[in-house]
């Protein structure tokens, strides 16, 4: 939400006169030479797919790749660009308008179609589960469950889905991508929480408009990596450092950890995760035990202690960056990530004035020092709210770090997942 409100103003400025854009393209990551192999997939950070880039709401700090889907067992395939790469979720989801293939519907043992209301922080996305063979780099996941969001064949969210908030994330424009590739630390997207009715997540449909929250079903959407024949214990995201801002960034998504010559852990530190996929961050005097590393977050989000000025949050529109940190001068900070295994790593990061980051005519698809409070100032504007226990290490953390995500219950050269390493 914040990012799009920010960039809405860039669009308006560009109407006045955008030349070639001032920011540069940055490529690399993973050192030299560039990684090669059947498990190496190119990724980019840019302004988004058609329908997002060049609009009033282009993407910021959003990592994309291209995924090929095929009708199972056939060579009838479609490559879909600008699928967001997300270590904060599990499973492949495609926006229906980006999909031209006719994929078979996944059905339960009774022959009923399965649909999903997948929860995001600000709402949910609705659509049935279909089956596809997935091809990414040289890896294949056969007969994989894929959620088709906004699928016209099953248009009506089931009861309970409405209560998660408006199911608004059903278009490319609202999603900011043609789909999302969840390659997080979990195998299933929902896990045990969906083993009963009332979870408002998995539904069985007796018709195109009659879907019921029936509780436990055998099938969930899964992390596609776990369905590969090899290199299936995790991923590495390798992106170069970004100095200030960039119009685009390119790097690599590498499948497997310690399974090939190109995906060893090297000197990376392993921080293990709790049952929620989370770790602890020590920031100033705060011990934030609901912290996470997430390529699907577009900024650093951490509690506001009142020391860094914030632009007023939405719906305020008096700045280019409502809700983001807007210090008068860039602030250099550090925080310590502590894994469940006690391993700790001190991380330096910077917080720039988001208002000025987005006040130029240049295309800004990547911003290394973009940060926001993980809480809002209270309505009276004078008291800061510090209830959050979260430090979200978003995509800016990935700029200049090779970040490993090891999947739960999977063996790696550094032990069993889940963990992050960097």
């Amino acid at each position: 939400m914040r990012a799009n409100l920010v960039v809405a103003f860039i669009g308006m400025l560009c109407v006045v006169g955008c030349g070639g854009g001032g920011s540069s393209a940055v490529s690399g990551g993973g050192g030299t030479p560039a990684p090669t192999g059947a498990n190496v997939q190119p990724v980019t950070v840019d302004s988004g797919p058609t329908g997002v880039a060049g609009t009033s709401n282009p993407a910021v700090n959003t990592l994309y790749t291209t995924v090929t889907l095929c009708v199972p067992g056939t060579t009838t395939c479609q490559a879909i660009d600008h699928i967001q790469v997300d270590t904060g979720s599990s499973g492949l989801r495609i926006i229906n308008t980006a999909l031209t293939l006719s994929l078979p519907l996944q059905k339960d043992a009774n022959g009923n179609v399965i649909a999903e209301c997948v929860h995001f922080v600000d709402g949910s996305s609705w659509g049935p589960i279909r089956q596809a063979d997935i091809k990414i780099s040289g890896e294949t996941a056969s007969n994989l469950e894929v959620q088709v969001i906004g699928d016209a064949a099953y248009p009506t969210p089931g009861n309970g889905c409405i209560g998660t908030g408006k199911t608004a994330e059903n278009t490319v424009a609202s999603f900011g991508a043609n789909g999302i590739l969840g390659v997080g630390p979990f195998i299933q997207d929902c896990g045990a929480a969906c083993n009963q009715a009332g979870a408002a997540t998995y539904y069985t449909c007796t018709s195109s408009t009659a879907c019921t929250d029936t509780g436990a079903i055998a099938l969930q959407v899964i992390n596609p990596v776990t369905a590969f024949a090899a290199d299936n214990n995790g991923v590495i995201i390798e992106l170069p450092a970004v100095s200030g801002t960039a119009a685009s960034v390119s790097g690599y998504l590498i499948f497997g950890i310690g399974t090939q010559g190109n995906n060893g852990l090297g000197t990376a530190q392993v921080v293990t995760l709790d049952a929620n996929g989370e770790l602890t961050t020590n920031y100033k005097t705060q011990v934030l035990n609901q912290s996470f590393i997430d390529s699907g977050s577009n900024a650093y989000y951490f509690p506001d202690d009142g020391s860094i000025h914030s632009c007023p949050p939405p719906p305020d529109t008096s700045t280019h960056a409502p809700g983001f940190y807007c210090p008068a001068t860039t602030v250099n900070l550090s925080a310590t990530i502590v894994g469940a295994n006690g391993v700790s790593s001190s991380i330096n990061f910077s917080v720039a004035d988001a208002d000025s980051l987005f006040s130029t005519n240049a295309t800004v698809a990547a911003a290394a020092s973009l940060a926001a409070p993980s809480n809002s100032v209270s309505a009276n504007g004078s008291t800061t709210f510090s209830g959050t226990q979260t430090f979200d290490w978003g995509l800016p953390f990935y700029f200049g770090h090779n970040v490993y995500t090891a999947i739960e219950n999977k063996n790696t050269s550094a032990g069993v997942g889940p963990y992050f390493a960097f």
Binding site: V118, V121, S174, G198, A200, G387
Partner: protein, 158 residues
């Protein structure tokens, strides 16, 4: 007494109250954000949930745990109004139930175009919502500034 020890004592009192309340089987009444506490236990029925109640100076916290292990806490003032709610767990709560009359305002704000989907902050005219987290771990809170008890710090919404 310095502020740190005062806080520690208050937390201890909170926990003690929780133990006492959880030993009492009778279910206190509660309702949704902005509503009066009533004898209607809609939330419990809707969420098929269990309830625990604790009291601290000036307000009461009703803690509801759904079968999916999402915990919803409702903060009730001495005058009987639900002035804040918070949630924590693997799935979002039903916001129609927990936000009540504020659901529409939340909904229209939440559906504004955006890219990031791990954080949401809304400051409406008399509604503040913070929602954050990721798949399998959702956190958040909502409160009505005009209903906050005197001297209540929103930092105490846990």
């Amino acid at each position: 007494m310095n502020p740190a020890s005062a806080k520690a004592i208050r937390v201890l009192g909170w926990l003690t109250a929780g133990v006492l309340a959880s030993q009492a089987i009778c279910l206190p009444a509660h309702a949704t954000l902005g509503e009066d506490v009533t004898t209607v236990e809609n939330d419990l029925i809707q969420m098929k949930a269990q309830l625990r109640t604790t009291s601290v100076a000036g307000y009461t916290v009703h803690e509801i745990q759904t079968p999916a292990n999402t915990v919803v806490r409702e903060y009730v003032s001495a005058s009987g109004k639900v002035f804040a709610v918070s949630w924590s767990g693997p799935l979002l709560p039903d916001f129609r139930q927990t936000l009540g009359r504020y659901f529409d305002e939340y909904n229209s704000s939440a559906s504004a175009p955006r890219v990031g989907r791990r954080h949401l902050s809304i400051e409406g005219t008399d509604l503040v919502v913070n929602s954050y987290g990721h798949m399998r771990a959702f956190y958040g809170n909502a409160y009505v500034p005009s209903l906050l008890p005197p001297n209540f710090s929103v930092a105490d919404i846990k």
